[in-house]
Symmetry: C2
Subunit: 145 residues, 2 copies
């Protein structure tokens, strides 16, 4: 099983790409901190203070303005996330997030899919708020309990 | 099966309530148009131009600043949505959206849950953007295809 979420952002692919890979920018819409610039092969430490989350990801591929692929999750539950950017003629960007590797036979599959779908839609709406309107305080608004 | 989505909005319960029931306000974060003020027992026509959607809902209960319950969907697939508002001490609002009535034996259950989870998270983030930051152009950013 995989999860696909797609948004349109009215900024260039470069601005969208940099928002993820630049540790100075990610805190405006997603994780609170990112240990260094995302580049192919690097392991990055991320925190999300509002949800007491701390995790490490491995960047599999970072192709400027086009694609970011990374892995997260425990060894027996590792999933790959591929973020693809597509520039439209008017310099807007279509961003697609595809998370793959959910086990079909996991009894908690539905809960995990819903939880992560929630996370992707929230992050992408926060990204749109940040890049189009300079709003950086949407993150943290989702209540998890 | 039901779907629960919960957000914190840094405005009063009255502002959150009015955003839904006042046809002049809903277009800032959710449907493009709403035929009249939401009140118990009324049928309301809604459109969402960006997604070519047109539907009718029946408001089951509208208790100012506390709760809005409505039904949508075809007769054999009718679902009830209950929006509950809870005011925190600092005048912030916890809003919970609970959609009930998904048939457990529907072969498309997972796709329908994911689709509607996507919609609720998107709408609630847009609501937060509108009420806290006056941003009214996040809606339409989600790409459905």
């Amino acid at each position: 099983m995989n999860l696909v979420t797609k948004f349109k952002i009215a900024t260039s692919v470069n601005e969208v790409y940099e928002a993820f890979v630049d540790p100075e920018k990610i805190g405006n819409f997603w994780f609170s901190s990112s240990s260094e610039r995302w580049e192919s092969g690097k392991k990055i430490q991320l925190t999300y203070d509002e949800y007491n989350a701390r995790l490490e990801i491995t960047v599999v591929e970072a192709e400027p303005n086009k694609k970011i692929a990374f892995k997260w999750g425990a060894d027996d539950e590792e999933r790959t996330i591929t973020i693809t950017l597509h520039e439209l003629e008017n310099s807007e960007t279509i961003i697609e997030v595809n998370e793959e590797g959910f086990a079909d036979n996991d009894p908690d599959l539905m809960a995990k899919l819903l939880d992560n779908k929630e996370g992707w839609v929230f992050m992408l709406t926060c990204l749109k708020g940040y890049l189009e309107f300079g709003v950086t305080k949407l993150r943290g608004g989702l209540v998890k309990d």
